[in-house]
Amino acid sequence: MEPALGRSEGITINSTAADKEYKTSGAKPPRRNSRQKQEIWRRLKNQGVLWFLLLPGYGWLAFAIFIPLLIMFVFSFLSDVPFGNRVVEFTFKNYTDYFSRSFYWKLTSKSLMTGCYTTLYSILIAYPMALVIAKVLPNRWRSALFMLVIVPFWSNTLVRLYSWAIVLRNGGVIDLLLQFLGFKPATLDILYSYPAIIVGLVHGYVPYMILTLYISLDRIDNSLLEAASSLGASWWQTFWRILFPLSLPGVISGSILIFIPSIGSFIEPRLLGGRSGTMIGTIIEDQFIQLFNWPFGASLSFIMLVIVLLLMGIMALMLARMRLLRTQ
């Protein structure tokens, strides 16, 4: 008999327990030598179980996520798509093309700006909401409101965008409302404009910010706030000197979580942006769906990947720094 798989320390075993088992079962305790053999055998078996558990999942991840990213990196250095008898060689042209043409620079900065706007508006909208949920609402309402915020976030993206297209189109609800209120520019053309993209993105990602902010605000002890106001701090001072600094980890992680998908978005610009919807994401899609210029698409994707990984690294560093400051 051997201990249950993965009991507390997993691989290490408790030799006295094993001894006891031999005694109670009445069998003769085996000699040292075979005990060692048994131990080795048991370790091997544990090792095997470990592989059996991990390999299918991580193998799939490697095959579907990590190896493709490597192949994308290789592809970004090819001069052409390897197809039929085409001569394909290694080249840096895809990257020099990107860096030498201001068109792509402008698009990149447009994508980055879109990420900034989306993040900024999300913070502005989400902060008061998170504050309301964490500090004003009674407990029994809290989780209900929390759920109400989460549901649209995990529901279908395309359904969400379709609903915005319905609302924003000419003759749609917003248009009619403005006309009713007396503004009457015959056609407003909100759909298929840059603001429509931002609206769609903010609508999609603001729940992220509400959630991360709620988590960090909820952790702040109410007595801190009470102490501040009883010592004569105005609500603005309380907010700016206590609440905001303590909620900063939430702001940072929420921002990164919104910024990254925003710069990589292509559905929102395509569907809501019309002609002003050209961004790096849509250019990448074009290379693969329309133009068959896959190596260039791969290099653009790789550049975006580098930006994303850099942002993730920065976030991790900032959060670690904050934790360090707090413990000191």
């Binding site: 009991r7 320390e9 558990l53 999942g57 395309l158 297209a165 609302v167 975006m304 994303v308």
Partner: protein
């Protein structure tokens, strides 16, 4: 003073909920409006729901999406649960690395993941098929399952299992009588959650689905680009309510953050 703050707070919360739900509500309502051009005044009619049920394209793509999402949720939950079990219950070298490896697949935009998978399948000379679609969907759903199940397993009380073992239950009996019932709610929640993730996923399907096969998000995408029809409102409304129910049920088990 205190009271006015409360009034403002509630008003703000309602405003935000209006922003989150308003467009969806309008969309659903317009599915019940007779006018094909979403014109007002509002005339209640079920014609678009009837039409939707005879629209073969829409029905086929919905069936594709449901079938894909069900198979993805079963396999991803199975593989992810095994991996999560290993990560929680065993200590071995490289465990932290494996756990950290789960973060990039979640944060890297799906566009990049989809494009890179397209390139790899081309490289390996595997043509786009239902299989490539399936591989991609399981790939992006897996990290979510593993992370969800890790938190689930960490929060599990182990004393019950230990009690069963010390009372003489074999590992197999312990697993089926104690461990499995304990993780079952988590498993179901993870399956619902991955169903929602796969059902929602447009990007992977857009790049990896074979010619002529479309999923529901792909169908909605082309409807927005080519022309609106209230039939899409009707089916979108149904889907929204359906996925809302899924999320609400699974959220009881999954702590989303």
């Amino acid at each position: 003073m205190k009271k006015s703050i409360h009034v403002i707070a509630y008003a703000y919360a309602i405003l935000i909920l209006l922003f989150l739900y308003g467009p969806l509500l309008v969309m659903v309502l317009m599915g019940f409006n007779r006018s094909p051009l979403y014109e007002l005044p509002f005339n209640f009619d079920l014609i678009w729901f009837q039409r939707m049920f005879t629209n073969e394209r829409l029905l086929t793509s919905t069936r594709n999406s449901i079938g894909l999402a069900i198979s993805v949720s079963i396999l991803a939950t199975f593989l992810g649960t095994l991996a999560a079990w290993a990560l929680v219950r065993y200590s071995f070298r490289g465990r932290n690395v494996l756990q950290t490896l789960l973060v990039p697949p979640i944060t890297i935009p799906w566009l990049i993941l989809a494009v890179s998978m397209l390139l790899m399948f081309y490289w390996l000379k595997i043509p786009r098929s239902n299989m490539t679609l399936f591989i991609g969907h399981v790939g992006v759903a897996l990290p979510y399952v593993i992370l969800v199940m890790i938190t689930r397993f960490q929060g599990m009380d182990r004393t019950l299992e230990e009690a069963a073992r010390s009372l003489g239950a074999s590992p197999l009996v312990t697993f089926f009588r104690i461990t499995f019932p304990m993780i079952l709610p988590g498993l179901v929640a993870a399956m619902m959650f991955t169903f929602a993730v796969s059902f929602d996923n447009f990007t992977i399907s857009h790049f990896l689905a074979p010619q002529g096969v479309s999923t529901l998000p792909v169908e909605i995408y082309s409807a927005i680009r080519k022309g609106f029809t209230p039939e899409i409102n009707a089916i979108s409304g149904i889907i929204f309510i359906f996925s809302a129910v899924l999320i609400l049920i699974s959220s009881r088990e999954i702590k989303f953050f």
